[in-house]
Amino acid sequence: MNGRRSFLRGFLTVLLSGGTIGGILQILPSKADAREAPPKGQKWYGFGVSIEKCIGCARCMDACKNENNVPKEPFFVRTWVERYITRKNGQTTVKAIAPGDEATPEAASDRTILRSFFVPKLCNQCANPPCVQVCPVGATFQTKDGVVLVNEKTCIGCRYCIQACPYGARYLHPASHTADKCTFCYHRISQGQLPACVEVCPTQARVFGDLNAAASPMSRFLRMNKIHTLKPGLNTEPKVFYANLDGEVR
């Protein structure tokens, strides 16, 4: 009896610990500077945002809603623009702008303002996407060209991905009851067109392109600017790159 029990115990231990250790070793990166490398000879899409060029006109938001059948209400967005105002006392107030908002007060007229700027936001299309990791049915997945998409035919609407996204980029579509988010306008880019928001931006604050291409507006953007990404500490490796990003932005 004792022998049988100790055998069973040992067997279970090996089974459990062996499986776990093997699984964890597979997940662990083997190098400190390891990154999710873009596959060679293939498109690997990225996005650039010039903070200084954005004028907060919100045309990108309109274009996105029209192009992608996003509900018109302000609670469901694939892309949005935040307005930051930092005062001389160090206080920062943030607001998501809406089309038709009143004009932003300027530092010239309001002496308490230290600096103000707009920050366009969208899905970061992370190279290491937490939303893909947590999806229980694999309905959220990463394409070969690095875009994270949702298959609305298999999404069960558990909203785990919405919880796992550090950027608030996802919402539950009130009509389809499935998760939804920016796709870089995948239907357009796979035809060689630009995402709708990039196309309508009057100041070219939004740049889109293949990160693997040697010469493109995207690679030029990365070459000419100091670049930062959002919440880099979470190791999501965003592919939306910001030029001149302020430290206040999260």
Partner: protein, 415 residues
């Protein structure tokens, strides 16, 4: 489109403090997801109480053995209902089982659940009741006889060797069952604890805190049920048993409380970027549910009450009714406390913006799938299932084992 949802979101707009991302206005995991970890916690806790008898040989709590197994089963059957009905597409829930993604903590639920239900709980309950079911089949006629024949899987062997096998099988199942029960609820903790995007959840301690709060809620609930059911069915409460169970409950609450304090102190001391918004949330939005209900009423008051029975042992040992009352109040308070714990984890984790700049509000509905009424139904359903289970597999004989003191109660039970 859903005009009702839009209207309720519109009503929330004025209540937002500071800045939140536009998509964060809607709270996605509502009351149903609060109910779910509460229920699985009870399952795990009740099973741990049962294994005290079988594995750790705590003879005093033997009367609670079958009751806690049946309680665990009744709650386990309801657990997936909360999950499935909260889905945007409940009709697709089977996809989790057919095409699971192995990297997802949630996808493993189906397997952990199935393992726990089939390989642990049902198996253990079957072996425990096998000979009883054979007896019942022999004593009854007609449909009832058929029912017990089927339930006992047509086994008829009551010989010594068969009974001995039952016993050794039970030992093995319980030994496998303890880590499985830990897995069941630890995994529920991991679902939350592994979300790095959410600093309120993201903590290595969360699975362990979940485990101990599960043990607390399970033991407290079984004791509560025992203290209600026994007098109702004409039995006498075995105070030796309740004393012992409350003893374990007491230590579990202490461990649970300490773990939560460690988590709290760690967060405050490390004081990372999210600390300001989290403390604002605790003081503004969660004050009643966290400070008052979870910590004060759910932990400190019961700890104090139970300690009183230990400090003034002499006085309390003479007065059984007094002790009963203290225990009764304590286990009820603990239930509310643990439910508040689940609430604070699930709802609290969604009340602050991941921009760490603002807070939103959760507005509970009354009707509808995410509403209060449905949650109450889900919380009452296990009790109804338990009622049926108690009819089919009556634990009365064991429930009324009185030790040396109350042999007469056993005789009068007449079951």
């Amino acid at each position: 489109m859903n005009p009702e949802l839009i209207r309720s979101l519109q009503e929330l707009l004025p209540q937002i403090q500071g800045y939140i991302y536009p998509n964060e206005i809607e709270i996605h995991w509502g009351l149903l997801i609060v109910v779910y970890p509460y229920i699985t916690g009870v399952v795990a806790g009740a099973f741990i109480l049962a294994s005290l008898v079988k594995v750790f040989n705590v003879k005093e709590v033997q009367p609670l053995y079958r009751l806690s197994l049946l309680t665990a089963l009744a709650y386990l059957l309801v657990a997936p209902m909360a999950l499935v009905s909260h889905l945007g597409h409940p009709e697709r829930f089977y996809e989790i089982l057919l095409t699971p993604q192995t990297s997802s903590a949630m996808a493993m639920f189906g397997f952990v659940y199935a393992w726990y239900l089939m390989a642990v709980l049902l198996l253990e309950i079957w072996f425990v009741h096998r000979t009883d079911m054979i007896d019942m089949a022999e004593q009854s006629t007609g449909a009832k006889r058929l029912l017990y024949r089927v339930l006992s899987l047509f086994s008829k062997d009551k010989g010594e060797r068969a009974v001995a096998f039952d016993h050794s099988a039970l030992k093995v199942i319980t030994i496998v069952g303890i880590p499985s029960a830990f897995l069941l609820h630890g995994y529920v903790g991991f679902i939350f604890g592994s979300i790095k995007a959410n600093p309120w959840w993201s903590s290595v301690l969360i699975p362990i805190v979940f485990l101990f709060s599960a043990i607390v809620s399970g033991i407290a609930l079984v004791v509560l049920l025992y203290m209600i059911i026994t007098p109702l069915t004409g039995g006498k409460i075995n105070m030796k048993c309740v004393d012992k169970a409350v003893d374990f409950l007491f230590y579990a609450v202490i461990v649970d409380f300490s773990l939560e304090m460690v988590d709290f102190i760690h967060r405050v001391y490390q004081s990372e970027e999210e600390i300001k918004i989290l403390s604002e949330m605790v003081m503004n939005k969660l004050f009643a549910s966290l400070i008052i209900i979870q910590v004060l009423l759910g932990m400190l008051v019961p700890l104090l009450l139970i300690s009183l029975t230990k400090i003034f042992k002499k006085r309390f040992s003479l007065n059984e009714d007094m002790r009963k009352m203290v225990y009764f109040i304590s286990v009820i308070l603990i239930q509310f406390g643990i439910f508040a714990t689940r609430w604070n984890v699930v709802i609290g984790g969604q009340m602050f913006s991941k921009s760490f700049r603002g807070l939103t509000t959760y507005k509970m509905e009354f009707g509808g799938i995410e509403g209060l009424l449905y949650a109450i139904v889900l919380l009452a359903l296990p009790i109804a299932i338990l009622f049926v289970l108690l009819k089919v597999l009556p634990p009365w004989k064991e429930l009324r084992e009185e030790g040396e003191t109350g042999a007469e109660a056993l005789g009068s039970a007449g079951m």
